[in-house]
Amino acid sequence: MKAVPVASSAPSLGVWLARFTPGQGFVLLAVFLLVLPWLVPNYQRVFVAEIFVWGLFAMSFAIVFGYGGMLSFAQAVFFGAGCYGFNLGTFYFGFNTWGAVISAVIAAMLFAIPIGYIATRVRHHHFLIVTVIISVLVTTILDSGHWKWLAGPYVTRSLTFVPEVPLGIVSFSFFSEMVAYYFTVIMVMLAVAVSWLLVHSPFGRALLAIRDNETRAKLIGLNVNRLRWIMFVIAAGIAGYSGALFALLARFTNLEFFHWTYSGKAVVMAIIGGVGTLIGPFVGTAFYLLSNEYLSQFFQQFVIGVGIILLLVIRYAPEGLWGLFAGWVRSHRSP
């Protein structure tokens, strides 16, 4: 080892990283997330938590697209449905935080059942078109003014109180940024774990089979449309769940979250990070939001930068940034 010059740190970093097994990597990540809030200043902690929420949203898209092969632009509808479900639970049923989160997930899935039924019946471009149209329809309806009781004045509804997280006898308040951070991260991790189990279950493998060759999947007796539909609804539930987490964190909801351009953001973030994995969308989201945060101060038309990055990624790294990184680490692994 002494023979290795210290200066060549880049390859040695790769070698070092390549030594970890996925399990160890996970522990490392958990420790990192635990320590992270102590390293960042105030306000930034909530920002980091926000990255996780939007990352989860992007992941819900990655499940539909990367595993289900469906380019869905309706994901934002479910995020928004989650926000409104949260409002409904909080303001009309008077649920506590847990109840509101659950009602958010239920609301999103209730939206997804009919939408998914229609959308999963069509293929390719038509799927994309149908999901865009449905998002536009939903936003148009909710914009009509009859939903003010739910959407709030000017389609913005602010939380009038600081949310509390009751846990048995103790109750944590979102007033503390630390609580907000840890609560969000733990909730997001739970969702990721559930999604991991899902995509590695026989169900997830069946979906991969459908994505890769629908005809063959049909021949071996899979009910293609129904499986796609179930996947669509589950992913919608995750999107709604992230909507509720966002409402807790930002303490406001807006009709705009229903808009398909927010789906577009999820698409861009997930693709930049990589859609073939569950961690990729988080990497993409972090990259997108961090560069937005810091670059937009110097460069107002940040969207141009995003466009160029997206082009480069699609063109030269279709696996996304995470895929690029994982490949680089793997290349250092001794055979």
């Binding site: 229609i118 471009h125 078109i129 890769d212 861009v268 038309q301 063109r315």
Partner: protein, 346 residues
């Protein structure tokens, strides 16, 4: 084949005659307003046809066709208003600007196929939309920019200008007609067949020595130019441009018109644009939220009649052309040949 196409051709010819008569017939019927609507339908048909050229023939779904439409519109408006060009140079400038924009963005976009192509076209059009909204001093932003249309030509002492609705109508009809004829020529040429070939099986096309990239690129630029011509016409027609022309809703309408009309057929987009614009004009009278009905119509078409209006029409004509004894139920129920997504796989 010729025998089966004949009824459709007769119908087309009849439509053409009707279109010629519009500026004189409609005012007689007391519907002066509809002359302008028909003119507008022709412009949007051309725009929908440019989406269809990519989607129906080359198999690329562009959600950003408004970009070239907007460039054409801004090209002619700024050509007149800032550069002080007269009519024809401004028109050519508009078409050129749209074509140049398509030629540059096409370098990137044509390398991609379906998912990614759709995404990147959305991103391109959003980028330029935001630039146009923010750059108020030149584009007028979302407030837009009205401008004065210069006379088209002067013959002797007579000046022909678009301010005369009848002249404007025939001007638009001529330009749109020429574009459709050009599109017909292109699609019937060997180049047109390679478009379809690249949609059906790009890798096989590569094996026999064609570059799928180049073919997609050519198709992309041609479609951009047609969209640009539509933009030029619309700016002249409205005497106004705004960043709104580059907005995604414009692209989305183009896709929907092409789809409803029947993608992969030359005149399908005309049917789609006509149908939905008439629905809009009549329905919006009764119901402010008529868009909802439009959305439902589109979803029904996508799910149950992927061949669009043109598909329904040819099937209906086929059925009528048959002897009653041959009119069997299964024949009617058979789905029309539809424009398939490229390659079949993801």
């Amino acid at each position: 084949m010729p025998r089966r196409l004949a009824p459709l051709q007769i119908l087309g010819l009849a439509c053409f005659v009707l279109l010629l008569a519009v500026p004189y017939a409609l005012p007689l019927l007391g519907a002066k307003f509809w002359v302008n609507i028909v003119a507008e339908i022709m412009i949007w048909s051309l725009f929908a046809a440019s989406v269809n050229l990519l989607f129906g023939y080359t198999g690329l779904l562009s959600f950003g066709q408004a970009l070239y439409f907007g460039f054409g519109a801004y090209g002619v408006a700024l050509g007149v208003d800032i550069l002080g060009l007269s009519f024809w140079p401004a028109v050519l400038f508009g078409v050129f600007v749209a074509g140049a924009c398509a030629a540059i963005t096409g370098i990137f976009a044509a390398r991609l196929t379906w998912h990614y192509f759709a995404i990147i076209t959305v991103v391109f059009s959003l980028i330029f939309f935001f630039v146009a909204v923010g750059w108020k001093s030149v584009t007028g932003g979302d407030d837009g920019r009205p401008f004065t249309v210069p006379p088209v030509l002067k013959v002797g002492g007579v000046e022909f200008t678009l301010l005369d609705p009848t002249f404007q109508y025939y001007f638009i009809m001529t330009v749109v007609g020429a574009c459709f004829y050009l599109m017909h020529v292109i699609l019937k040429s060997p180049l047109g067949y390679t478009f379809i070939a690249v949609r059906e099986n790009a890798s096989r096309l590569g094996l026999i020595g064609y570059s799928p990239y180049l073919i997609r690129y050519i198709s992309f630029v041609i479609a951009g130019i047609f969209a640009g011509v539509a933009g030029v016409l619309f700016a002249l027609f409205a005497r106004y441009v705004s960043a709104q022309y580059l907005f995604w809703t414009v692209s989305g309408e183009g896709v929907i018109w092409a789809l409803i009309g029947g993608s992969g057929t030359l005149f399908g987009p005309v049917l789609g644009a006509t149908f939905l614009i008439v629905v809009r004009e009549e329905l919006s009278i009764y119901w402010e939220h008529y868009l909802f009905a439009v959305g439902v119509i589109v979803i029904l078409f996508v799910a149950f009649a992927p061949g669009g209006l043109m598909g329904l029409l040819t099937r209906a004509l086929d059925w009528l052309a048959k002897k009653p004894a041959e009119r069997t139920a299964p024949e009617i129920a058979k789905p029309a040949p539809r424009a398939k997504g490229p390659g079949g796989g993801p």
